[in-house]
């Protein structure tokens, strides 16, 4: 980390412009965080630009369903470097209460995430804390030409198919496993 990196990171950390990818209830808490009582613009997020080309922080607030995930990925790819992602709320982190056929069980399965905010929905103070955490993360490891991102070559979330999920799907479809090779876990 050079001094130029530190200076660039300081500037970027204190002026994170969020791109609110608000899908559901967490979107309302995001709006509350941006409103006048808990004011997010005190932390540099002065404007919530809805165009991905003008933002550097994507806040995924709310559950992401199968139909919406390609849209999410496309918008992530449209954002220019450097960019970070906050996964806000239980549904974006792990699927939340919705362990159903339609909801993606955590966006980190398909997209890189930097900070996770638990809660259903997280209080505005929690979201502000996550922005501060992200600012610290950027300050401590950020580079001017975004080379720290090139090191993250592996997917960081859970594997695409959990072992348990695969077993459940096979059992549901009538595929019988050999008892000697495998003991089903209830």
């Amino acid at each position: 980390m050079t001094q130029l990196d530190a200076a660039a990171s300081w500037a970027r950390a204190n002026s994170l412009w969020p791109m609110p990818f608000a899908t559901a209830c967490c979107g309302i808490e995001l709006m509350s965080t941006a409103a006048s009582k808990h004011d997010l613009s005190r932390f540099g997020s002065e404007v919530m630009r809805f165009s991905p080309r003008q933002c550097d922080l994507m806040i995924v607030a709310g559950r992401v369903v199968m139909k919406m995930l390609p849209v999410l990925q496309r918008i992530w790819l449209q954002m220019p470097e450097p960019k970070w992602c906050i996964s806000m709320g239980a549904c974006a982190c792990t699927g939340g209460v919705f362990d159903t056929y339609a909801v993606v069980q955590g966006i980190d399965r398909f997209m890189p995430v930097d900070v996770y905010v638990p809660g259903c929905p997280p209080r505005p103070e929690q979201l502000i804390r996550s922005i501060i955490d992200l600012q610290e993360k950027i300050q401590s490891g950020g580079t001017v030409n975004a080379r720290e991102f090139k090191l993250r070559i592996l997917p960081e979330g859970p594997t695409r198919f959990d072992e348990d999920e695969l077993i459940r799907i096979r059992e549901r479809n009538g595929f019988k496993l050999d008892d000697q090779k495998y003991n089903p876990v209830h």
Binding site: F21, A22, T23, A24, C25, G27, I28, E29, M31, S32, A35, S36, K37, M48, F50, G62, R63, V65, K67, M68, V71, I75, V97, F98, T100, Y101, A102, V103, C120, P121, R123
Partner: protein, 406 residues
């Protein structure tokens, strides 16, 4: 736009050439989260609009078949997320109708107060967000500040600002305390100032009036045949309010007016919502004065509700009663029948069609979503309007994507 243009044959998309297609959403600030519209435009004028929904479909109804009546209230909260308690009240109203439980007076009054607080919550956000979309950010801030006071009231009663999961079958999670009552009184006392600030900024504002008058007109026949309910229908002249026509909770004892308008345009819908906010304050004031003392759980001697924690931990009857209410194979059994029950939620008629199957779990828990039917009307409302009117109309019909898609 003048009404006769809506019937003009020139607006038939298939016959005109030179139309261009604009994709509006699903990621767009004015689409109120995940709605998508494919607009066919002739210059600036919208010739056709086809909505594409399902970007928030999470399988709510499938979850209703897995979770029991007390657990599903946590999921139902997340449907109309800008007025969560209203959904809970509607769900438990339907469940209690199916199980044949009559609530205690105190529970009815508290639920009524919360239903009206949620009406304020919803209307403030609807109006604030619509005005923000039309460009007025200050009114949005005022509306959100008022909503913070309601969040604190919910937090004091149930522990959570949002998604309170406060109602239970036959009663409520916790009883309310005297300082909660004082908080609500303080809110009611301070609301008229907020209302006058907000309406002063918006209702007579020349730009706002020009952008919403005669835009997106919904006629009375279309509203009825299309299934519109709530403020959207009342703004078109369908004077029907479930609080007056099919009274539930404590609305029988309270005195209020039903707000309606003849215009059917965006401005009329706004006016109806503004007037309803004032009526809600009236109802809350009356309910606070008449709030009776007593238990909040119906049938303390029967199996209708979860007993108070003091009883559970200190008496064997309370413990047994709790055990009987919670354990999966020992709870109340719903009759093997089906009912449809609706309440007047802030967005319209929120109804539940529940099929019981002899256990404490719904066999089918269908939500009748007001937003779905309103959004289906959107393509009729928008024909002949300009591109910038799309935002005004979308904001005024108050679509909540989670209720739409479930």
């Amino acid at each position: 736009m003048p009404l006769e243009l809506l019937e003009s044959p020139d607006l038939d998309a298939s016959k005109r050439e030179g139309l261009w297609t604009l994709n509006f959403g699903p990621q767009h600030p004015a689409t109120h989260t995940t709605l998508r519209l494919v607009l066919q435009l002739d210059g600036e004028m919208v010739v056709d609009a086809e909505p594409d929904i399902g970007f928030l479909h999470s399988g709510f109804e499938k979850l209703g078949e897995v979770l029991d009546f007390n657990q599903y209230v946590t999921i139902v909260d997340r449907m109309n997320y800008i007025s969560p308690l209203a959904n809970e009240i509607a769900w438990h109203h339907a469940v209690e109708k199916l199980l044949g439980i009559e609530l205690t007076p105190r529970c009815k009054y508290i639920r009524t107060i919360f239903a009206e607080l949620m009406r304020l919550h919803d209307h403030l956000l609807c109006l604030g967000a619509c005005v923000l979309d039309l460009g007025g950010a200050t009114a949005f801030m005022y509306a959100f500040n008022a909503r913070e006071a309601i969040y604190e009231i919910c937090e004091r009663a149930s522990g959570q600002r949002f998604h309170t999961s406060y109602t239970r079958v036959g009663g409520l999670l916790y009883d309310v305390t005297d300082d909660w009552v004082a908080m609500v009184k303080e809110f009611v006392r301070s609301f008229p100032k907020v209302y006058s600030d907000f309406s002063g900024l918006v209702m007579k504002n020349r730009i706002f009036v020009e952008r919403t008058r005669d835009v997106g007109v919904l006629s009375r026949e279309e509203a009825i045949a299309g299934g519109a309910t709530g403020p959207n229908a009342r703004a078109s002249g369908v004077v029907r309010d479930l609080r007056r026509d099919e009274p539930y909770l404590a609305y029988d004892d309270l005195d209020f007016d039903v707000c309606a308008s003849q215009g059917g345009d965006c401005y009329a819908r706004f006016q109806v919502r503004m007037m309803e906010m004032l009526e809600s304050i009236k109802i809350i004031q009356q309910a606070l004065e008449k709030l009776p003392n007593g238990p909040i759980f119906a049938g303390e001697t029967g199996k209708a509700g979860i007993p108070d924690k003091k009883e559970v931990y200190r008496s064997i009857e309370g413990l047994i009663h709790h055990f009987e209410s919670i354990m999966p194979n020992r709870q109340m059994a719903a009759p093997k029948e089906s009912i449809y029950a609706a309440t007047e939620s802030p967005n319209g008629e929120l109804g539940y069609y529940i099929v019981g199957d002899g256990t404490f779990r719904a066999y089918r828990a269908r939500t009748r979503p007001p937003s779905l039917l309103h959004f289906a009307l959107f393509s009729k409302l928008i024909r002949g309007c300009m591109l910038s009117d799309v935002v005004a109309v979308l904001g005024s019909i108050n679509i909540i994507a989670a209720e739409l898609d479930r």
